[in-house]
């Protein structure tokens, strides 16, 4: 039998606690500083343990696949492969922070990619050698398309009082169907070569443009959520909509803005997808909405709103990709990846529940 006697178990726990005590003290001192308090609060929600999980996963995969997982190539492609998702997940973070949900993002992304590509192909011109004017037109159309769907979502949720789940399920179907109708179910394969160059381009030959763009979006999103009135209202509405209304916040207008922002980011992600795949990938992005929601939830954003961090969302986007890549490199059956990601998702929500219960017991 290997069972430890209570005495030994306790001694071990004490020993472990003893070893970590200086670390804990140092952390406490650190979190008392101005910068430290920001870090501590950022990690405070779900951040700390999911960040540790991410680091642990990376270590494990690096150990199991030495020289394969933790390589410049793999880190770069993993970052590239989450960039589109990160952009829509940032928008989703705001929506979920209000206590809502946006199921339409993946298909608004698709729709925006189609309209953008069609605008660039306007009049049947082969746009392969088109200049920046056509590219900017395409970007504007993508952003505008996304914004349009977002505003529609916002109006239906805030004014018509249709539950967000249903409202965005409706626009999911509408944007998908219209994307299929507009494209006749066929991918548009001719895009300005500048766009493809943006998709494959890298800074210092190392960091892909799309990754930098996605990180910029996340940074702006994080700053907006934490430091601006827009973010404060977003969290207040998610925390207690009635309180926000009584405090004089125009809740309906703010909700419309939040959904509009999510839609516009989805439109932008559609443009990024064009850059990466150089085609409209009409059969793709089918699960992007659920992946974005999963990432936001893994990142510690509460399903009922009020609590959200973009840092958490960023980590939440990365964890499934690390699992995906790690399992693929190790040669596991592809379905194991889904099993692992699903388990992490449930753990994340469970952790959120525990936190809430602890709070309510006070």
């Amino acid at each position: 039998m290997t069972a430890l006697t209570p005495g030994r178990g306790q001694a071990m726990r004490l020993a472990i606690a003893g070893r970590f005590a200086p670390l804990a003290a140092r952390w406490k001192a650190f979190s008392a500083t101005r910068f430290g308090s920001i870090v501590a609060r950022t990690l405070g929600t779900n951040g700390a343990w999911i960040f540790l999980l991410l680091v642990a996963l990376m270590f494990v995969f690096n150990f199991l696949a030495p020289g394969k997982f933790w390589t410049e190539f793999n880190v770069r492609t993993m970052a590239e492969n989450v960039s589109v998702l990160l952009v829509i997940a940032v928008g989703e973070t705001f929506v979920m922070a209000t206590g809502g949900i946006d199921l339409s993002v993946g298909y608004v992304l698709l729709f925006s990619g189609v309209t953008s590509a069609q605008a660039m192909n306007w009049g049947g011109h082969d746009p392969t050698n088109s200049g920046w004017d056509i590219v900017l037109l395409g970007l504007a159309v993508a952003l505008g398309s996304g914004l349009g769907w977002g505003v529609l979502n916002g109006l239906v949720v805030a004014k018509a009082k249709v539950p967000a789940l249903i409202a965005t399920l409706g626009t999911l179907g509408m944007s998908w169907g219209l994307a299929e109708i507009l494209s006749n179910g066929q991918d548009l394969r001719y895009l300005p070569s500048i766009i493809g160059d943006m998709g494959t381009g890298r800074v210092f030959d190392k960091i892909p443009f799309v990754v930098i763009v996605a990180i910029l979006v996340a940074v702006v999103g994080g700053v907006t959520l934490n430091l601006t009135r827009f973010g404060r209202y977003t969290l207040a509405i998610g925390s207690n909509q009635e309180a926000a209304r009584r405090a004089g916040i125009n809740v309906d207008r703010h909700l419309i803005k939040v959904y509009a922002m999510s839609g516009m980011l989805a439109g932008f992600a559609g443009f990024m997808s064009l850059a990466i795949f150089t085609t409209t990938t009409i059969s793709g992005h089918a699960n992007d909405n659920l992946q974005a929601i999963a990432a936001v939830v893994i990142g510690g954003t509460s399903l009922v709103g009020g609590v959200a961090t973009v840092v958490g969302t960023t980590i939440g986007v990365c964890i499934p990709m690390v699992l995906f890549s790690g399992f693929t490199i190790l040669g596991y059956q592809s379905f194991w990846r889904d099993v692992a990601v699903g388990a992490v998702l449930i753990l994340a929500v469970y952790a959120d529940q525990l936190r809430r219960r602890r709070r309510e017991r006070r």
Binding site: A56, F59, T77, Q186, T200, T278, G284, S325, S334, F335
Partner: protein
Amino acid sequence: MRMRNLVMLGLAVITVGACSSSATAAPAAGKAWNLTLIQGVAGDPFYVTMACGAQAEATKEGVKLNVTGGNKWDATVQKPVIDSVTAAKPDGVMVAPDDSKALLTPLKAMSDAGIKVTFVDTKLDDTSFAVSSISTDNLAGGTLAAKTLAQLINDKGTVLVVNVDPGISTTDARVKGFTDEMKNHPNVKVLDVQYTHDDPTAATTITTSILASNPDLAGVFATNVQNAEGVATGLKQASNTTVKTIAFDAGPKQIEDLNAGIVQGLIAQDPYGIGVAGVQQTVLALNHGTTTATIQTQLAAITKDNVNDPSVQKYLYKASCS
């Protein structure tokens, strides 16, 4: 120090699982190359059968084979799979790309990393860097479908073609082979091609409405599985038992349908053969042998009469290898 202990602990848990699943074939002769097959979509009988063929050939040649793929036919899902496989640095990869253009960048990067790339079933528009492209001769498949259907309807009557979407090279080739061959059958009239967007319910609606406007409909050619199932439902709704249906592909469900009389003919591709050829070509390239740039595999027409013939059996798609 502390960190390492922590990691080791985590590893102990995970490696237990890892060991049990990686059975490796003993190398027979030559170098034990590491190969990976990236399926168009994991779990589909067509690709499962392809993997069976590849595995059998790999065992024979004494090379290691890994099989992976996205769980959906979706280029945006397949890209991270391709990138991760590249990161794993196998010696050669057989891949069925989900899009002929979207996946150029990651597959080019794979080739640039020194990995031999062979296209199986589908391929990119740009095949310049590939060892070989192995696929079904879809044109021949369409011809075979026409001949088989003509026989089933005694060479006369109106026939309908139910296709997925315009612009897909494989299904378009099937339709072309079919309509071209039907020109040799003057008593057979081919209606305009109908498109279903790969939606079985659309195929059902199309079938019932065409039956209403063309009561003399004698046969239907469905260019893929989804369409065949939709057509079968449509015929059932119209209580029609005279129209003969011929469909592409021969998965377990289609064989069941054939035996049940829901379809009268199947045009089976040879995924097993594609898998075998894929491994052969990739290993040839790794051993600096001479490879064949394009290989077109043959098809078989399966009807109720020959479904149990041993020569036809190898064309049936399997849900698992054994």
